[in-house]
């Protein structure tokens, strides 16, 4: 087999960090090659260099044996390399066909778009790689898995033979992952070479022909899946053992902390986002909400926090009705919140860490003294959070944007935990952080749970959901469709409930 890609000695520095340090990578033609590593290991940087989005400081790249140096993605595309980003880059209001040809439109006289030719080419590509999709569908009507397929077709349409997929499974439910893997195997049979980033080890072992592990910007190993176990891979990635999100014995009490009763939430156009949802969380209990993103989970959290109005129903915190209270009062009464998007909702990036630690708690000691901000008290508490939650930072005066993603998340978790909330709303608390930090966050939640904190957990990581929760409810199209015992359910079954393939007693 010939070599598709050969990278040797790739080094890329950013101010203060070496993202890639003498990385070597060889990808054979027609194989599925997985790149594994923790966050910050340098996977994305390496892929960006290969795709021409960034340039290496040193090292050589060879594609099909020819030495290349891309200064833009256009050149990478011309060399037959295509990339599918983790966040889809599709125009929702356009059709599949329009999205596919966007930026590469075939034209007729007078610059008019030649849709017939485009349609024909799209059909050829679809047939050649066994990927089917209706070119006339609007993107906004497609499921996540289908959108991803459009992204892949888009890349193939431009003539790519080498595909880079950036965490393709992150947004998919198990059934969709299987579909994706089927498609990837099909592409491989039709002669494509696939390079993909993933950190779900069982998936990597199931699909990859070769696995390269990066750690701290260096290649630590290149292995075959039949030679290693998931445990071995994890050790290669972190250099220590992988933590598991298992809770110990139940700490659930009889005292109801949060009582959500027939809550309905509408959007601006009066469409139902959360439909008559009822559940209770007792002190010391973790209730996990399973669901494909966009089925009303985050809107339910918004309604409990108070950033979205409740149309019908009521919410009680420790027996007191909080349905109509503003966010600030709810927080003061003991609702903590770990937002889904930490930079968007959780941080003031251009403010010092101690101000970030005060955010959401700025009306209470030690952050406030009367109507004034207690700067000394705030800094002291922030230093405490830094030490207790292992936030790696030179001091508490640096701006939040200077921290890495994992450290930002630890700061947020620390901020919410040290306030000792009665109810913690945690949306994807470990998304995008590395395995080490993930284990710490799990420990923090477990510890607080044992002290009586009630937790509402949303997570796309089903193992995390099953491992941490005392009860799992499944949300589908705004409704609670099933209540499950995490001790008895498998990720596969959960996936079936989430997509509506299986129905259960709610």
């Amino acid at each position: 087999m010939a070599t598709a890609i050969e990278l040797s000695g790739i080094t890329k520095r950013f101010p203060g960090v070496v993202a890639n340090d003498q990385v070597n990578l060889t990808v054979e033609e027609g194989e599925i090659h997985a790149i594994c590593g923790e966050n910050g290991a340098g996977k994305s940087t390496l892929m960006k260099i290969l795709y021409g989005m960034q340039q290496a400081d040193s090292g050589t790249m060879k594609v099909h044996g020819r030495e290349v140096r891309f200064v833009s993605p256009t050149e990478a595309i011309a060399a037959g390399i295509g990339m599918v980003h983790q966040h889809f880059m599709l125009a929702d209001q356009l059709t599949v066909l329009e999205n596919v040809i966007l930026g590469a439109e075939p034209t007729k006289a007078l610059g008019r778009i030649d849709f017939e030719k485009a349609r024909e080419h799209l059909r050829e590509v679809g047939q050649a790689y066994g990927l089917t999709i209706d070119p006339n569908d609007l993107i906004e009507e497609l499921e996540v898995g289908e959108r991803q397929r459009v992204e892949i077709i888009k890349v193939l349409y431009r003539g790519a033979k080498i595909l880079i997929l950036d965490e393709p499974t992150a947004v998919l439910v198990p059934q969709e992952v299987e579909e994706l893997f089927r498609n990837m195997r099909g592409l491989k049979e039709d002669g494509a070479t696939i390079l993909f980033i993933d950190h779900k080890l069982d998936e990597v072992l199931a699909i990859a022909d070769t696995i390269t592990v990066l750690r701290d910007g260096k290649t630590v190993a290149t292995v075959k899946p039949d030679e290693v176990t998931a445990h071995d891979l994890a050790e290669l990635m972190v250099g220590s053992e992988l933590p598991t999100p298992e809770t110990t014995e139940s700490t659930v009490t009889d005292q109801v902390a949060l009582d959500v009763d027939s809550v309905t939430v509408l959007d601006e156009d009066e469409r139902v986002l959360v439909d008559d949802v009822t559940f209770r969380i007792r002190r010391g209990e973790v209730v996990g909400i399973a669901g494909v993103e966009g089925n009303g989970q985050s809107e339910l959290l918004d309604a409990i926090l108070g950033t979205r109005p409740v149309h019908r129903g009521s919410i009680q915190l420790m027996g007191e009705d909080i349905t109509l209270l503003p966010v600030r009062e709810r927080r003061e009464r003991g609702i903590g919140y770990i937002p889904q998007d930490r930079q968007q909702e959780g941080l003031l990036l251009t403010a010092p860490l101690w101000e970030n630690a005060a955010l959401g708690h700025q009306t209470k000691a030690p952050f406030a003294k009367g109507l004034f901000i207690d700067r000394a008290g705030s800094k002291e508490r922030t230093e405490h959070i830094r030490d207790e939650f292992d936030v790696r930072t030179p001091n508490v005066d640096v701006h939040a944007h200077a921290l890495s993603g994992g450290n930002q998340q630890k700061l947020i978790v620390g901020r919410e935990m040290t306030a000792e909330p009665i109810v913690l709303l945690a949306a994807h608390p470990t998304r995008g952080i590395d395995v080490g930090a993930q284990g710490e966050v799990w420990d923090d939640i477990r510890l607080a749970r044992s002290k009586g904190m009630a937790t509402l957990l949303i997570s796309a990581d089903l193992d995390e959901l099953i491992g941490l929760s005392d009860t799992i409810v499944v949300m589908l199209r705004g409704r609670l469709v099933a209540t499950l015992d995490p001790a008895k359910v498998t990720p596969r079954e959960l996936g079936a409930y989430m997509t509506g393939a299986k129905e259960g007693a709610a």
Binding site: G16, L347, L348, F372, R392, A402
Partner: protein
């Protein structure tokens, strides 16, 4: 990053902007056939006289207040373009009522200040209410409210309230009923003369300077030390995070606009206390220059002092250039424009440099990753 280096970086930007502005202005002066060195020498020579310094301080005082008014909005990403209309309307109403009411001296002074702040705050708050209830962008509404205030309300009210005005610098001016001498803030000539020499040419250092200093201190304490200021800044940096953190977004918009307008209401106090009434042809444009002042001063209480002084200096210098004939007075307008443009660019460059510095020192703190310099 250590403190001294941080200060250096903060100061570097405006200094570079000033040097750039000087260079650009020199080029323009050379092209227009003037000698830049001569022109600058005239400007500086003139400004080093005590009487001119008083002029500069008198001009810088309302500019500073206007700059702070704009900065309060800026800290929350609110663009209060309405300072112009707010200060003129506030000054008119305050001067009129201040002359009518019968109060002993100090109370009358206080009364005028309070009325001015109330009128400015209410008029600006109107734009805030429109924003949170009807979703109208405050840029649009404050521009329109300016037009309503200046060409509508003020033009009408000044005719209703015109009552002879008075004589100022030997020239008769029309305006509202004069405020009794005891109701005006006394000038600070004696304070300044205590340190220097006698001020000649009948120049008076405005007593509103004290008000401006209090506004500056109040602004610093409010924004940097109080919970309200924290909410204000948090909303300005990231409105989503602020909302999730319990900051009542709508109430903050209205409060910030009211506060900005209340400070704007004080801008006109300098003129009222100087003239003794609200003249039919008041000094205009301070609200707009206030936007530039806030911008150049980076919304920082001390930074705005410097930028207000620079703009006041340029303003006062334009007169002397015309007088000595070293250059056309319009060069001053060009300089103002170039300074603002250069400052915006320089600030952006400096803030990026600062971000890089911080990212680097944070990465160094991790210990396990070597800084690039060492690795290279």
């Amino acid at each position: 990053m250590n403190i001294s280096r941080r200060i250096l970086l903060t100061l570097a930007a405006p200094v570079v902007a000033l040097i750039f502005a000087l260079a650009m202005s020199s080029v323009v002066l050379i092209f227009s056939g003037s000698n830049p060195l001569e022109a600058f020498a005239d400007m500086i020579g003139h400004a080093s006289r005590l009487e001119t310094m008083v002029d500069i301080l008198n001009r810088a005082t309302p500019l500073y207040i206007a700059g702070v008014a704009v900065a309060i909005g800026f800290r929350m990403n609110l663009f209060n373009i309405g300072v112009e209309g707010q200060y003129l309307l506030a000054a008119l109403v305050a001067a009129h009522l201040g002359a009518l009411v019968n109060l002993p001296g100090p109370l009358r002074i206080l009364f005028i200040l309070v009325v001015a702040m109330a009128v400015g705050g209410a008029y600006s708050g109107f734009a805030g209410v429109l924003k949170v209830t009807r979703g109208i962008n405050e840029v649009i509404s404050t521009i329109m409210l300016n037009a309503i205030a200046i060409t509508g309300l003020i033009a009408y009210l000044i005719r209703q309230w015109q009552a002879g005005g008075g004589i100022q610098s030997g020239v008769g001016r029309v305006g509202t009923t004069p405020i009794p001498e005891s109701g005006l803030i006394p000038n600070l000539n004696s304070v300044l003369e205590f340190f220097t020499r006698e001020i000649r040419q009948g120049k008076q250092l405005t007593g509103v300077l004290v008000v401006a200093i209090l506004v500056g201190i109040g602004y610093h304490v409010l924004v940097n030390r109080t919970r309200f200021g924290f909410d204000l800044r948090a909303t300005g940096i990231n409105p989503f995070a602020a909302q999730v953190g319990g900051v009542p977004a709508k109430r903050m918009v209205v409060s910030a606009m009211v506060l900005s307008g209340a400070v704007a209401g004080l801008v006109g106090m300098a003129e009222i206390n100087h003239v003794g009434f609200f003249p039919a042809n008041p000094i205009k444009g301070l609200g707009f220059t206030g936007i530039a002042t806030a911008l150049l001063g980076r919304n920082h209480p001390a930074g705005i002092i410097l930028s207000a002084l620079i703009f006041a200096f340029l303003d006062v210098s334009s007169g002397v250039l015309q007088f000595t004939g070293a250059a056309s007075r319009e060069i001053v307008v060009i300089m103002q424009g170039v300074i603002i443009l250069a400052a915006v660019v320089a600030y952006e460059v400096a803030s990026r440099a600062r971000e890089r510095q911080e990212a680097k020192s944070a990465a160094e703190a991790l210990g396990d990753i070597k800084p690039s310099e060492e690795a290279a």
